[in-house]
Symmetry: C2
Subunit: 305 residues, 2 copies
């Protein structure tokens, strides 16, 4: 019997579930509203019941990977701190699931780490065994794979790249998370002399700025050039600490990466010697919207941590 | 027969050699002028002969650890890039020594990593199995130990903490290496309204500023408060990436650390949540001037990498 995994991507808006073959092929997917699962204050119970019905629908599944938007205990048994899903703070989720579903193995991991692992194992693009993964969305997440295994850090929650220092004295995510991008665009608009499609926008959001950059709006492209500079500053530190120079970029920004890349590369060359830049390889993640589910499923490949 | 190691600390000014017992006790030490070893352009040959005569003097030694001020190949066989000792650039040093000295094992490592390992194994202070080590001197070096082993990074030369970004857009070492400290003091002196013993100094060097701070000179203590802020910014990034919150500080700055610590701790608390700061442990290295030799000797304890 062919092996199937469930990959569950727990997000603040949706819980996405993918049925994934052991070679990484996404067979089918379902989406559940996180809000509905939270309603009534019984998230853990409803989430567990949801998994129960999924396992019933898919009796071939004996391994379930779950991507968690937050921190976990060192052994990946307890979910510790989930800023946008506090019902899971301090929950012994692994124990609950294992005791409820006999004969099924559960694998919990931080969502950015899971996405990195999915890209490494299941994206179909040939990647080296050492890579940095960075995902830009509402926040900025990251992971490192060294010799084919996730770098966990001392207590298991390393690679919080969104919270490292950049050259303007602010943390990476405060600069180039979605809120930071809106701030940047708003500040530039205040003094922008030319025409921008954003000039008339009543209330900007990050997607507007992205859309405008995709249509080569001059102001919006400047915003993403600045994103490249700041991202570059964060990567200078990360590369110096981890000596990895394959960088895989995922998340929303990939759609406008042509505007990010030149300034990013300029900063890396400005601050790093040839030892790092000679073999620099910056590329986009290819799993896109499925990265969360496929990444979670990849946790079922044991020995990756 | 009791086991003895040689620990060789290769520096730009001196090559220091310690005879070290397997429990870390430094039995005796010798110093050789790096300049003399370099004279005539035959550093590798003279260095090898020096080791030969040391081995002859100490026939009980079958393991030699060598701390290298620069980068090494992934397998620690070839010395790659030593800015202050270019004769060793691209030298297959491990092969040369192993072939010359039959029956002796050689262990090469970056000097900051060796010093961290020495502090971990041989300092006598009880340290956890996960720690960050940072040494402030002419440059700024660093290392991380995770589960009792050095973090090497993807290609083996990670933890170049001196070259990560700080909040003023400059790299850590440019700010708080010896040159940076002189720059800082000079800039402050230009506008300093009060009295400082440094006001009359003809040409400042970092030791003058340190001496003045040790005597609580108000301007010099401000310099080291600023050092604490900048060091803190670098550590914010490092802690977020590696999730380690025991920090061991070595090098010259330890003598004035009372002036560094308050601003360092203030910055860590400003940027890091309680998960990191609740169990924060910042302490000084205790091996002092012997850190290089004892650290190099600790490389002979196998299984530390």
């Amino acid at each position: 019997m062919e092996e199937y995994f469930l990959g569950i991507d727990v997000g603040g808006t949706n819980v996405k579930v993918g049925l994934v073959k052991a070679d990484g092929a996404l067979v089918s997917r379902q989406k559940f509203s996180t809000g509905e699962l939270r309603a009534g204050g019984q998230f853990v119970e409803k989430f567990t019941r949801m998994i129960g019905s999924l396992l019933q629908q898919n009796p071939a599944v004996k391994k379930v990977g779950i991507g968690i938007p937050g921190t976990l205990s060192h052994k990946r048994r307890t979910t510790i701190d989930l800023p946008n899903l506090t019902e899971l703070n301090g929950v012994k989720l692994h124990k609950i699931l294992t005791q409820t579903f006999d004969g099924v193995d559960f694998f919990l991991e931080n969502d950015a780490k899971a996405a990195a692992l999915g890209e490494y194992h299941f994206s179909g693009q040939l990647l080296p065994d050492d890579l940095l993964f960075i995902t830009l969305g509402t926040g900025v997440g990251g992971a490192a794979i060294i010799k084919g295994k996730l770098l966990m850090g001392g207590r298991g929650n390393g690679m919080e790249i969104g919270h490292i220092m950049t050259g303007n004295g602010r943390l990476l995510e405060d600069n180039i998370g979605k809120k930071g991008i809106v701030e940047m665009a708003t500040a530039m608009l205040a003094t922008y002399p030319g025409h921008s499609v954003l000039s008339n926008a009543p209330a900007l959001n990050a997607e507007d700025v992205e859309d405008a950059a995709r249509r080569n709006d001059p102001l919006a492209t400047q915003v993403f050039a600045r994103v490249g500079t700041i991202l570059g500053e964060g990567l200078v530190s990360t590369i110096r600490l981890l000596d990895i120079n394959t960088i895989v970029v995922g998340g929303g920004v990939s759609k406008v990466f042509e505007h990010v890349r030149p300034s990013l590369i300029e900063v890396l060359h400005r601050f790093l010697p040839p030892y790092y830049t000679d073999s620099l390889d910056i590329r986009l993640a290819v799993l896109g919207n499925n990265a969360g589910m496929v990444g979670a499923a990849s946790l079922c490949l044991e020995g990756s941590r």
